[in-house]
Amino acid sequence: MARYPKKINPGVILGLPYLAHLMLFFVYPLVFSFILVFHRWDIVTPMEFVGMRNIGRIFADEVFLQSIINTGVFLMLHIPLQIVVALFFAVLLNEEIRARGFFRTLYFLPVVVSGVVVTILFQQLFSYDNGLLNQFLAALGLPYVPWLVSSKWAMPSIALMATWKNVGLYIILFMAGLQSIPSQLYEAARLDGTSTWQRFYHITLPMLNPTMVTVVVLSVIGGFSLFIEPYVMTGGGPMNSTPRSSPMGRSATSTCCPSTGRCRTT
């Protein structure tokens, strides 16, 4: 066995690759991004110090300001919808129903489907003139809905798509939470003559609180970083009403950021 000099702790050496990785891929980009906030730089020409100009510029950008509102609206629609749908299916799939494994897999499938595939699918479903949903509504004698071509409908449509895509993950989380609730609590409640709703409201919901927090945190993160699907579906339209213009999306569209400094500021 090779011997190390006594003063060097092998742990330090073994930790070095991780430290190098951390410095190179996390600390350095973070510090460099912060420096770029105060510079104009297009990668090929020398950096130019611009002070607070990048910060002033993003607040003069009406699309950026709209993007903050859009993100708030999207989260307000998306999070409650996601929680209600996920909880409903988690409770259902937690029961002893036939083909439970099949349904669990089925609901989880959209999570692993590529975002672009989901986008194309929903673009065709939501198409105004020849989309499947509007054909269905027409067959029922109902008027067409301008799913993606109205600033009122576009955001709920995208929230619907995002919920369909991600709900499987939250079903799994809720199911894990449900299975950790001690069955004695339900038995005791049953002996006390409680109804199903009372057991759900007074036992299940409070006991799922930690899971609920996780789901909300993950939904908020997902909502903030949602970009590809709405960008491909609506490009941020109609009239800046969808989350292409979320702060993350705005910085990701290089078209709007000729100055990498402004991207970093965003």
Partner: protein, 439 residues
């Protein structure tokens, strides 16, 4: 090293670093091989037709020039050619010559001192004036007075239309003006299956506010309506307000009346008689030849003009130019190769192999090309239009400016939320703010 030496983390790390260092390519991409042969690197566009043409040209050059050998490479894959070239510039790995340069990005390259000024070559002026029309030469002159690029090819935007659908509507000549186009649209847009909803439209454009989509509607029509003007004149914002209003208004009429649908259409709607027109370039000819059903009769016509417009009909031309990068160690040899790429013979190959239009004077009258255009009448339409094309302004912030255009186009033309005049004024103000903040 002892038996367990390879387990020592220090050795492992050193080995890893050496292995990583070994991954680099130490070869000189362009240089002398030591036997008097100069090797140049040439990047062409990666599309199969153009690459095949480049292979043919390079093989011929290498055969005829044993002392200047050219190594051909298709532009490496990336999100866009501009992004790849920018990365290469930062890394210092640009080729000697590249023939896929979008004029909108050359200004950035020039500021980065990445391009070689071609007008430093003694015979530059002669080569340029023999081939390229005077106004196009001026359009590529940089702000510092030098010329860094040779206008090589252009893809003029025209209207592709379904002849049968027009004839069925009683229209035997493609409409020249906005009014005539709207009149034709009213006849062609219809409900064929009687369910009370339209299922056949005059045309379709992607309405998403994506900057480059506006090249094929607003920007093309703006160039047409303004008689060949772009947004800037000698670096100063000079948008023709009247032309812009007319364009916003024209598209607003198309969407308001339902002649263009606001929704997306599945598949290629033009192939199956769902839409009667499409704004497109010559690249679509090969696509139609290979994919259109035998029953589809199509033709190409110039973009419609405002009713009161008189004069030549201009259009947007997606230019691609040739440059020599300043990293070259052999500018003279590179220039010789560039001259070869722009000869009449090479231009013929560009037409024949790649079906793209060279930026060459009197293309249609040139006996070298006459037989070709007789056999390819569709391409002849584009060649005719090529003499009346304008590209993009070679300025900074172009993408951001077009992003603003896309927003006002959507607001006014697609959804009719603001009148055309207001859209033009607000768009100009937005562009002014972009310029002011970015400079």
């Amino acid at each position: 090293m002892g038996k367990t030496g390879y387990r020592n983390p220090v050795y492992c790390m050193a080995f890893l670093l050496l292995a990583l260092a070994g991954c680099g390519d130490p070869s000189n991409p362009a240089g002398d091989s030591g036997n008097g042969v100069t090797t140049l690197t040439y990047w062409s566009a990666p599309n199969p037709q153009e690459y095949a043409m480049a292979q043919d040209l390079v093989a011929e050059w290498n055969r005829d020039n044993p002392h200047i050998q050219v190594k051909l490479q298709a532009l490496p894959a990336g999100q866009s050619s501009e992004e790849v070239l920018l990365s290469a510039m930062v890394a210092g790995t640009t080729p000697d010559v590249c023939s896929n340069i979008w004029p909108g990005v050359t200004n950035d390259f020039i500021r980065a001192k990445g391009l070689y000024a071609l007008d430093r070559f003694g015979d530059f002026e002669q080569v340029m004036t023999e081939r390229v029309p005077e106004d196009i030469i001026e359009s590529v002159r940089s702000a510092d007075g030098h010329i860094y690029q040779i206008p090589w090819k252009t893809n003029p935007i025209m209207v592709q239309y379904n002849v049968t659908m027009f004839e069925d509507a009683g229209i035997y000549e493609f409409p020249r003006t906005y009014s005539a186009f709207l009149e034709a649209a009213a006849k062609i847009t219809r409900d064929n299956d009687g369910d009370g909803r339209m299922d056949q439209w005059m045309g379709f454009r992607d309405i998403r506010p994506i900057w480059w989509q506006r090249y094929y509607d607003y920007y093309t029509s703006y160039i047409t309506a303004s008689g060949g003007k772009t947004f800037f004149d000698k670096g100063e914002l000079a948008i023709d307000r009247k032309a812009s209003d007319q364009v916003f208004s024209f598209y607003q009429s198309l969407y308001d009346n339902g002649y263009f649908p606001r929704s997306s259409l599945q598949g290629n709607a033009f192939l199956y008689d769902v839409i009667a027109t499409e704004f497109t370039g010559p690249w679509n000819i090969a696509y139609l030849e290979n994919n259109a059903p035998a029953s589809l009769r199509y033709d190409f016509a110039p973009v419609p003009v405002p009713d009161d417009y008189e004069g030549d009909i201009y259009s947007y031309g997606d230019h691609k130019n040739i440059v020599i990068f300043s990293t070259t160690k052999h500018p003279e040899e590179s220039w010789e190769f560039v001259k070869y790429l722009t000869t009449r013979e090479a231009d013929y190959k560009l037409l024949n192999f790649a079906r793209q239009i060279p930026v060459r004077k009197n293309l249609l009258e040139d006996p070298e090309f006459e037989a070709f255009f007789r056999d390819n009448p569709m391409l002849a339409r584009f060649a005719e239009q090529a003499a009346y094309t304008r590209g993009v302004d070679s300025i900074r912030d172009l993408k951001e400016i077009l992003d603003a255009v896309a927003r006002y186009y959507e607001k006014s033309s697609v959804y009719g939320a603001i009148p055309p005049g207001q859209a033009t004024e607000e768009m100009i103000e937005a562009i002014r703010v972009i310029r002011e903040w970015n400079h």
